[in-house]
Amino acid sequence: MEEKEWNMALFHKVQALVKRHGITAPDPNDRSKIVCKDNAMIDSAWQAGIDFLVEQGVYCYDTRRVIEFTEDEVKSTIRGIPETLVMGEGKDAVTAKNKHMDGDNDPVLICGGFHSPYREDIAHLAPKAFMMIPGVDYMQGFTLKVIDGREIHGTAMAAYAARKKVRYMREGARKAGRPGMAICHYPISLEAAPMIATLDPRNGLRPCDGAMMTPLPNIVVETGLITAAIVFNDYGLSFAQNGNGHGEQDSFAGSREGYIVTGIAKSIAGWLIYRSNITNMSPNIVHEVFNRHTNMIRVHGLRWPDIMRRGTQYNERYLLYFAQKAINCAFTGSAIEPSGGGRLEGTTPYEIEFMCECAEAARGLKVEDGIELISNIKKMADEECPAPVTRPGGMGHRVSRTGWDGSLPTLRDVYDLVKMEPSEAYKQEMDKARRLVKAAGLDIN
């Protein structure tokens, strides 16, 4: 089957499933509908996601074949998602699990950052600075465009760069005094060889580590990552994270209701094919579906208009975005992944520290209280530090607009990685942000 045929078949199947299961998508601007309280709707959506996989399957783009599953296969595989998983080793190990959505008081699982491009000259400094933050449980890697002064190009160079990047991460963990901290490999290339090349108990990925393994938005997988997944499974890699990057409109779901079905199917497919047991999820009801039906560890929290967009300047509004993100994850039982969104050397350890503090303070909050708190922060931010320029919206990935090439400020402008401290000006921005977060109702000291 050609991929275009798959895409359109996906669209028609999804629309049929929406009709069959009577799925409705709430108005995203209705705050009372941020969380779906209708269990029958949640169960219908779940079944629609399973039906998709059983009736349509998953497409493999390079073999142009459809991978088919029976309902028993899908359901028994979902039951195999572990209730807990141990990331890292020794004193630095953490036990990760799916937290419940409402008022769960367990600690928030926190990834310390990266998932963005870095330049080589600070690749040896950055991991340590982030990994020393006490609240950080594990770290995602970064990408490099240049290694040893040479542009990374081709499979062999990508394999070398991937190995060296993970080595920087392992070394950073050692320097931070947390050698057992888990690392999630962020791919430099999606080919099998550079992925597999990272496996190395001494300086690369250990069985207690993980990797980003993400099906494409149109529920498509490819042989390179399948091969890597098989090898990782054989090696005993502890976890994989499904990044699930996509937009609602530019997917082939065809409607907001359809996007619920593909959101569920894609997150299940990540586990079925790549063994991804940590998953970034959207839209909101997908969180509730997985919370109710699986042990999958969910990432990123809910979305609604009060969640501010990540800014591009290091100021109090930028910090408030991180506070919102932490609170959102804490009260929805989600793990925190402060991904850099493609921006070159964007996030600093200062935001991560702040986020860890906010997440701890918001732990155990009820959903309604969390929504209220986030709304308060948004109101205060709009009153006291409105966004000067709205980031361009629209379809598709806009990595270039987030400044991967250094066209935006980088952490070097506001944070000294050697002294491991922020600039005086940035400290003042933090003072303002902390004041607003406290005034909004979060108990941070």
Binding site: E3, K4, N7, M8, F11, Y61, D62, P117, T143, K145, E151, I152, H153, T155, A158, A161, I188, S189, L190, E191, L216, P217, E222, G247, Q249, D250, S251, F252, A253, G254, S255, G258, G342, G394, M395, G396, H397, R398, V399, S400, R401, W404, D405, S407
Partner: protein, 220 residues
Amino acid sequence: MFFLIHMSNEVLDNLKNAVLNYDEEAAKKAAEEAVKANIDPMEAIRSLSGAISEVGESFHRQDIFLPHVVMAADAMQAAVAIIRQSMSSEDVKKSILGTIVLGTVEGDLHDIGKNIVMMMLVAAGLEVIDLGRDVKVDDFVRRANEVNADLIAISCLMTTTMPYQREVIEELKRLNLRDKFKVVIGGGPVTQGWAETIGADGYGVDAYEAVDVVKSLLAK
């Protein structure tokens, strides 16, 4: 006379509505009617282009989703294929603004942006040969030569696959074909600066801009 004009308008409306309703079969039927009624083929194609521009604008406003754009583009292409059968080869040539070979570079599997650009280019009346994703450097060059393309459009989403955009240009230079094809690049990490660095002729920050860039390059 009035009857003929009325009929002509009705057929043109049918063509337009078929695209706006994403209906390939209706588009084919309307195209056959247009041929039968001896409607000026260029006028028929203009009607289709107007319709698909409306579809593109709806997508840009986020009123509709990607599958609708695909279906509208399919309907338009099916109708155009029928209408062109009634045209002389000279007129067919005139009706095509240009031929573009487009794809996502080797090692890169991300093609949503490329697909959107493709549909916008089709909507703009360009002939687009979509090579898909994970396209080797040689294949860009070979296919452009085969179809005598005017322009090569190269997409990528990963910083580590960007160098392949440069390689296509280098390969064209090596084969003394650089002047034969305009080269436009795009994709998530791509910037105007990168386009200038590697010697591309143009860069579009999004699908809309890509179409403008392509049109202006082809007009030169």
